[in-house]
Amino acid sequence: MIRNYLKVALKVLARRKFFTFISLFGISVTMLVLLVATAIFDHSLAPQAPETRSERTLGIYRLTMRGPENTQSSDPGYGFLDRYARPLAKLPGVEKVSLLSSAQPAVSYVGGKKIESQLRHTDGEFWQIMEFELLEGGPFTVEDERDARFVAVINETTRRRFFDGQPAAGRTIEVDGQRFRVVGVVRDVPMLRFSSSADVWVPISTSKSASYKEQWMGGFEGLILARDRADLPAIKAELQSLLREAEHHLPDPKRYKTLTAGADTLFEGLVHKVGLGDSDKLRPAAVKAVLFLLMLLFMLLPTLNLVNINLSRILDRASEIGVRKAFGASSRTLVGQFVVENLVLTLLGAMTGLLLAIPVLAALNASGVLAYARLGLNLRVFLYGLAMAIFFGVLSGVYPAWRMSKLHPVQALRGRSV
């Protein structure tokens, strides 16, 4: 039966080429936009080097201090994390805790040329949580950080900028007026990966001033690697009890009374980073619902367009429908047939959109709008695309199919309008 439907569907598509082109154009443009958005999301959130363990990693990305009149909210400071996030390492379910700064712009001059880099200060544990793709040498260690050795890991692009792509391990670079010995070179990490990406990574203890050690607010984040995904809820709960304790030792107890922070998954962290909601109020399910609504909203116009085209195409086939009805085909069969036909059309359009997405993503990568991005299509993106195409196909097929099935056989045979 389905085979018959498919045969008819392809025949119909081939018969009115102009209409088929219009429909395919609309579907493929819609799918193209959705696929590009999905690829960007996937690139920011899916586990991939160096964040291969992101599924069992939690981050403390935001800290909010509240008092009766004042509210202060930013990324946490080293002083706070050192005192109240590091102890999480003692939990049985925790493998490692790492503190790292957010990436900061830093300037170097090489041979009269200005080089702008993103500089990130990390501890040694950072390199044990992350799995960077090493091109040369290795990361710096916990001891390097403890002894404040001036060592640096740089990415591929930095090696090209400073050393013309020549081997860099053992050589010296000057960043922000400080000199570091390069110990390792890693592959570029897309800037979308906000807690691992940088151009140059150096030990926290090489910071120019020690004032960061006392800060509760600003400039740092904490990463917690759990042994297993099942340990995550216990870690989240323990952080909350540490926060309650921290509230007794606030640096400015007159102005601030309470602390809010969360051990976030990457998705929750991203939502916080773009400034949507506080840790305690945010529900990822709500954000996902909003994303789904946005997709629906974007699909609205293409759906209406396709429904309109489909409706006018039905008229074309009134006599066929009339014959089938006269020979006893039920409304439900006809609806099924038309929805299948529409699915064939949307899947064809989705394939076109997929093919178009390849050059568009390549152009996005080359444009450098998203630094170091290597956007591409993978199985996950493909499956999401497939799901969206099927959703779109059903959405735009059901109403015309229903209208079609309502056609009166006699009228239809005479070729009257719907």
């Binding site: 200005k114 004032s211 006018s312």
Partner: protein, 400 residues
């Protein structure tokens, strides 16, 4: 005639209803993109209030914490004062000033206060005396800060004309106290008015702005975060390195980033316009899709109505009359869609949903979107209606 056309449209209400809905949503898409575009263009035409040419910005990270005591802050300010002196003594530098918030910065400081029972919001910055010289600010009333202002018992402020108008209307603001006096704090008093200061740059909306006097000899809550310097025209980029080395030599514990304000301006433009360009491109393809769709649907519909139109021709209607009928029907559909859209869109200024966009900009966006939809749908109807009018009456009547 018009009544008759309405009847014809009504008779095919289901098909037409969907088309109206499609026009309605397309209208919304055009409206959003057009309004944002017009908003930026409208901002771009307004006076900026300062000149960015030959101004360099040094972002200074003093590694300051928010729990520092006064002695630490005072020591930091001393170093900054020395830095300013050293920088000014360099040959390519004409003048230098420190600022808390500088042009083209995204973040900033916004203050809200109640004056004469009215809520007033203003962006602000603490700046040293020479800033007016560096940025070429135009003082239109009163005067700019002077070094001797340190001796005053109140804090002098310079405001822009927007803020002066918001608070005092046509009255002369010079010498007036700003905000309700709080006995614990030093009062703020207006000493001068500058023509304009749009911190966000050319694409940002006009906004209230106020300068406070940043003193380097006494710690206050105003924390300088950058040094702005006017360099001689034609200063080479290589001077950046010399400048950076000098700054790092004086304050090895701090981090510096030197950048011409022109670069900051360019990246602000990119950042604000990139989403508009991306959205505009998507909107363009959506509209192209809608146009093709409408075109196909109209064509198909007219094929369906061959007999009706043939009858009209046979009864003596001229070609152009048939042509006109089809076009008018489409205009009626578009009007429904556009009116529906306008009713929705007008809620935004009426309910004050998006405060930062002026009503005039809304109106312009509305008119633009309306015109675009009429143009789009008549274009789509033109070819099918030409085909319909070319039908030979005899042939049309035979058609079944």
């Amino acid at each position: 005639m018009t009544r008759h056309l309405f009847k014809l449209v009504w008779n095919r209400k289901r098909t037409n209803g969907l088309m109206i809905l499609e026009i309605f949503f397309s209208f919304l898409v055009v409206f959003v993109v057009a309004t944002l575009g017009i908003y930026f263009w409208d901002n771009y035409r307004q006076p900026l209030g300062y000149s960015w040419q030959n101004v360099w910005k040094v972002t200074v990270d003093m590694k300051a914490g928010n729990q520092d005591d006064d002695a630490t802050v005072a020591a930091r300010l001393k170093v900054l004062e020395r830095l300013l002196g050293e920088v000014e003594s360099l040959e390519p530098v004409e003048s230098a000033a420190a600022a808390m918030v500088s042009p083209y910065e995204q973040g900033g400081w916004t203050m809200g206060t109640t004056i004469n029972g009215r809520e007033v919001e203003a962006e602000g910055s603490g700046v040293t005396t020479k800033l007016a010289e560096v940025l070429g600010l135009e003082v239109v009333a009163g005067r700019w800060f002077r070094e001797e202002d340190s001796a005053l018992a109140w804090n002098p402020i310079v405001i822009d004309q927007d803020l002066a108008r918001t608070v005092w209307g046509d009255e002369d603001p010079i010498g007036k106290q700003f905000g309700d006096p709080d006995p614990k704090e030093t009062p703020l008093r207006v000493i001068g008015v500058v023509r304009e200061f749009r911190k966000g740059g050319e694409l940002a909306a006009r906004n209230n702005f106020m300068f406070q006097h940043l003193r380097l000899d006494a710690p206050s809550w105003l924390q300088p975060r950058s040094i702005l310097l006017k360099v001689r025209p034609g200063t080479p980029a290589a001077f950046e390195e010399e400048l950076t080395r000098l700054l790092q030599g004086v304050a090895p514990d701090w981090s510096f980033q030197v950048k011409p304000l022109a670069d900051e301006r360019a990246s602000t433009f990119r950042m604000l316009l990139a989403p508009l360009v991306a959205g505009g491109t998507v909107a363009f393809f959506l509209l192209l899709m809608v146009a093709l769709g409408l075109f196909g649907v109209l064509w198909q519909n007219l094929l369906q109505r061959t007999r009706e139109l043939g009858l009209r021709r046979a009864a003596g209607a001229s070609r152009s009359a048939v042509h006109r009928q089809v076009l008018y029907e489409q205009v009626i559909l578009t009007t429904f869609g556009v009116l529906l859209g306008a009713v929705v869109v007008i809620q935004i200024p009426v309910l004050d949903l998006v405060g930062f966009i002026r009503p005039q900009v809304f109106a312009a966006g509305l008119v633009f979107a309306m015109a675009a939809m009429y143009l789009l749908s008549t274009l789509c109807a033109f070819y099918p209606s030409t085909l319909a009018s070319r039908l030979h009456p005899a042939e049309a009547l035979r058609y079944e």
